[in-house]
């Protein structure tokens, strides 16, 4: 359902571009937004309305990930100047809620891109991942934070 709504959105945008007669990227994006609004007005079935909650969440999530990546870079740039005594590395086992291969690979990439963490491996039965952490203060706290911050919004988007 989401796919067909997305296609209708694209077609509406193309019609908008043809009707206005100016093929620029700004006009196309404006057409997409107008198509999104029109579809939001005419779609009334509850199961079809999922598209209109997923798209804003998707963009919010992308912004959040970009912010996390920037933060990660600043932190690891600062950490390169730390002396050895301030390092507290550890390899931690994190249980997974994600089930399919696609969900796990997205989650693993996401964790790899954020501050001081590195994916070591996924277990063969897909139940846990092993994460190398640069600064581990509290094991339980770290596991909880990872699941709250990354896994929950990601699974909400993908399911």
């Amino acid at each position: 359902m989401t796919k067909s709504l997305f296609l209708s959105n694209l077609i509406l945008a193309i019609i908008w571009v043809m009707a206005t007669g100016t093929l620029t990227e700004e006009n196309f994006i404006f057409g997409l937004i107008i198509g999104f609004a029109i579809l939001g007005i005419i779609t009334y079935k509850k199961e079809e309305r999922k598209y209109f909650t997923v798209i804003p969440k998707f963009f919010a999530f992308i912004a959040f990930v970009l912010w996390e990546i920037t933060k990660a870079n600043f932190q690891s740039a600062r950490e390169s100047f730390y002396s050895k005594s301030r390092l507290e590395p550890a390899i931690v086992k994190v249980p997974l809620d994600a089930k399919t291969d696609l969900e796990i690979s997205f989650l693993a990439n996401l964790i790899s891109l954020t501050p001081g963490t590195l994916i070591m491996d996924v277990s063969d039965d897909k139940k846990v991942i092993y994460v190398h952490v640069m600064h581990l203060l509290d094991k339980e706290e770290f596991i909880k934070e990872t699941k709250q911050k990354f896994e929950k919004p990601l699974l909400e988007l993908m399911r």
């Binding site: 870079n73 390092l87 590395p89 390899i91 590195l118 070591m120």
Partner: protein, 131 residues
């Protein structure tokens, strides 16, 4: 105005890459080195590429820059993951300051299958205090 923005972006990019190379020298073992280099260089290269796109101010250059940054973000994390896994399996020495090692003994000796429950085998990196 544009010149100043390009200068700021490329300077920050170069500084990030410098910091990651200093990290490469200072960190005690391979896992920390992968952690430091992978991340700081993504933003460094990303900033330099963005300043390139601003400098040329050209549609085809900009689309290529976006594609390069996208592939960079995808591939660097995969590369780091594979390097870390290979280093662990061939028993590269791990720094002795490592607090917890949940991975110790979880790999099967012969098949390199990874278990999620407790499992005992001999793959376990030797502690080291070198450098």
């Amino acid at each position: 105005m544009k010149d100043i923005l390009i200068m700021i972006l490329s300077t920050f990019g170069a500084l990030f890459i410098l910091s990651s190379s200093i990290g490469l020298l200072r960190k005690p073992d391979i896992f920390l080195r992968i952690s430091v280099t992978g991340k700081a260089s993504t933003l460094g290269i990303g900033l330099i590429l963005v300043s390139t796109a601003l400098f040329f101010n050209n549609y085809s250059v900009t689309t290529r820059v976006v594609a390069i940054i996208l592939f960079l973000f995808i591939t660097i994390s995969i590369g780091g993951h594979l390097l870390a896994r290979a280093a662990y399996i061939i028993k590269t020495p791990i720094w002795k300051g490592t607090k917890i090692d949940d991975l110790a003994g979880q790999y099967d000796d012969v098949t390199h299958e990874l278990y999620s429950e407790k499992h005992h085998s001999s793959i376990k990196p030797d502690p080291t205090d070198n450098i």
